[in-house]
């Protein structure tokens, strides 16, 4: 488990982030949306209250991080490689789907997503990309009548 003498950094970070988010929401909502009066609550009331409660809970979580910790959930270690590979794969797919079409976008997604694992096997990747593109074309464009083009831009 984590070091028991000092603050649990993960909890501290979680509390701080949640608190900051809560403060932002409460501040933004109270500045921009009406609070309402009497029985007629405005659009600002609910988010402001939620933001305030969240900010308080965030502080509580952060304070708890200084107490001795006995967690039941062991968090996995941070691994940047799969995180970056899969995030990039999704981003590239979003960029290329409407511009290049389903097949090229799928090929790009596959080629980048497989970087999450080592070793890189080029033949397997190509086969995988091809079959995935074909499969998704059959399911989504043919089976579900989605507006997709196999090659070339569309939509927009």
């Amino acid at each position: 488990m984590n070091s028991e003498s000092r603050a649990d950094l993960r909890d501290l970070a979680a509390g701080a982030l949640l608190s900051a988010f809560g403060v932002f929401v409460a501040f933004y909502a109270s500045r921009n949306y009406e609070w309402g009066e009497g029985g007629q609550l405005g659009p600002g009331f609910f988010p402001t209250m939620l933001g305030v409660v969240l900010a308080i809970l965030g502080v509580v979580i952060a304070l708890f991080s200084f107490s001795k910790v006995a967690h039941e959930l062991t968090p996995p270690p941070l691994r940047l490689r799969p995180f970056l590979a899969i995030s990039c794969a999704i981003a590239i797919f979003a960029l290329s789907l409407e511009r290049l079409g389903l097949f090229p976008a799928t090929a790009l997604l596959t080629a980048i997503a497989v970087l999450a694992e080592r070793p890189y096997n080029i033949r397997r990747t190509l086969l995988l990309a091809g079959s995935l593109a074909l499969l998704s074309w059959l399911i989504f464009a043919k089976g579900l009548d989605m507006q997709l083009s196999a090659f070339g831009g569309f939509g927009g």
Binding site: A14, A29, G39, L50, K68, F93, A94, E98, A113, M146
Partner: protein, 499 residues
């Protein structure tokens, strides 16, 4: 007597609807796809439902819900198969199957474990569904008399229960639930037409999409967490039909546990926040306590499969009671099913049963048919699922990522949804690292709009008097439960820490 005739009348409405060829087909496809996704390690029913939710957009409402329910049953079941054969829970709720199922596999009795699981789950489901059929009309009738304050308080109870009864910190659970409620306010406010938190982005005026949130937080985050891990051991056993048949002794030992499991599961399933395998572990513990040979538990006792499995499936049936009659889901999966109702233009609540009887009863009858299909798919075709389990993860996960991307795109044909998916995928991974649970967030997000709606309506009716939540008896009771639940879980959490 009158009760029985009404029940039979309702069942016949349901049979009429569920037994049409198209609906049978949707049910079959749902169960099949559910099994397919659920049997893969790490992919549970929540992920299976969010992955397949976009597909159901293209179907008529009844067909869509029948298919989703099928996916749920299939995925829930498939998770247990993975637990028994690989010793790795397919998803957290199936973790209990590892305890005795995996030892049985190592003793060469894996086929028997799977067979008994199939029977126990079918038995449990039957009990749960029968209860659902009997209790739902009564609760729906009561639900018609509830006011907005009552609904608001009941939703609050559901939200609190789902976010505090977990493994992690209850305070974090509530915080995540509130984040979900906040995310639900994004978009056009129904009452005033004001655009909230859209930051002048046209794509946000309808709010954040449910599908990108669900898929990002669960599917994408799960893929990122699981890639790069060590490979999974192979299954070498053969699974012909005669390897699966339990002995007379097995049957005798499983009978009692199945009965008790179903009873326990039915009770817990109907309560909010008890999903995720809590009841199954309780049922396992009870069987171990009363067994004449408790030393066999954990080393391949068949009771350790029969009881939790029947408990789990009975609970699945009764979990639909508050969801379908009051529109108040007890867990995130039920919330997703509710969201599917809303997507198809059906406002959940006690009036569904009277305004859409064919949908309501058709859906319930199809639950049972789905479980029948499950038995048919799993006993003879076990070999196929076993082979599926052996697909190496590196070949699998790019497909999952691709499927999530196209799935979210298909909901609006808009690339913005893929960017939302990316955002929530990254957030989901960060939440895993920070030990923040995603389930309460999703539940809060789905219930956010009706919750705020009921809250505002309740205050409108009481002319701004906040004590309405304390003077209405049902609302006050629900709030009292919510508060005591919260204090109980915080106290036990703090005690756990102090040790």
């Amino acid at each position: 007597m009158e009760f029985l005739t009404t029940l039979l009348g309702n069942v016949s409405i349901g049979l009429h609807e569920a037994l049409t060829l198209t609906n049978l087909w949707y049910c079959f496809v749902g169960v099949f796809l559910g099994c397919l996704v659920g049997v893969l390690p790490g992919l549970g029913s929540l992920i299976a439902i969010s992955l397949l939710l976009p597909i159901t957009f293209h179907l008529p409402p009844t067909g869509a819900l029948i298919m989703l329910a099928g996916v749920y049953f299939g995925a829930d079941y498939g998770g247990g198969t993975c637990s028994i054969l690989l010793g790795v829970p397919g998803h957290p709720a199936a973790a209990v199957d590892v305890l005795d199922g995996y030892p049985m596999t190592k003793q060469g009795r894996g086929g028997i474990a799977l067979f008994m699981k199939c029977i126990a789950s079918f038995w449990g489901s039957t009990v749960g569904i029968l209860l659902l059929m009997c209790v739902a009309p009564i609760l729906a009738e009561a639900g018609l008399k509830f006011g907005p304050a009552d609904y608001c308080a009941l939703m609050f109870l559901g939200l609190m229960a789902a976010s505090t009864v977990g493994k992690g910190s209850p305070i974090k659970g509530v915080a995540m639930m509130i984040v979900g409620l906040i995310l639900a306010t994004v978009g056009t406010d129904v009452n005033s037409g004001v655009q909230r938190f859209t930051f002048d982005l046209q794509d946000l005026s309808d709010g954040i999409g449910l599908i990108p949130i669900a898929m990002g937080l669960f599917a994408v985050a799960e893929v990122v967490t699981s890639t790069g891990k060590a490979g999974i051991s192979a299954v070498t056993q053969k699974f012909r039909l005669r390897d699966q048949l339990p002995t007379k002794e097995d049957w005798k030992r499983s009978f009692g546990p199945m009965l008790r499991g179903a009873g326990l599961g039915s009770f817990f399933g109907a309560l909010p926040g008890t999903s995720g395998g809590m009841a199954t572990f309780i049922s396992y513990a009870i069987e171990k306590r009363i067994s004449r040979h408790p030393e066999e538990f954990g080393k391949g006792a068949i009771e350790g499969i029969a009881a939790p499995e029947s408990c789990n499936n009975a609970g699945v049936g009764t979990a639909f009671i508050p969801t379908l009659t009051l529109g108040i889901p007890g867990d995130a999966i039920m919330a997703l099913i509710l969201a599917a109702l809303v997507i198809h233009g059906i406002q959940p609540g006690p009036q569904v049963m009277t305004s859409h009887p064919e949908l309501f009863w058709g859906l319930i009858v199809s639950f049972w048919i789905g479980n029948l299909i499950l038995v048919a798919l799993n006993i003879p075709l076990l070999g196929m699922w076993v082979r599926l389990l052996q697909i190496p993860y590196p070949l699998l996960y790019p497909g999952i990522v691709l499927f999530t991307c196209i799935g979210v795109y298909s909901t609006h044909n808009n690339a913005f949804d893929i960017y939302s998916l990316l955002f929530f995928g990254m957030a989901g991974y960060a939440m895993v690292l920070l030990r923040l649970e995603a389930v309460p967030l999703l539940l809060g997000y789905i219930l956010g709009q009706p919750f705020e709606e009921y809250f505002r309506r309740a205050l409108l009716l009481s002319r701004g008097d906040f004590t309405v939540f304390l003077t209405e008896p049902i609302a006050a009771t629900a709030l009292a439960f919510a508060v005591s639940l919260m204090s109980w879980s915080v106290i036990s959490f703090v005690r756990r820490r102090a040790k």
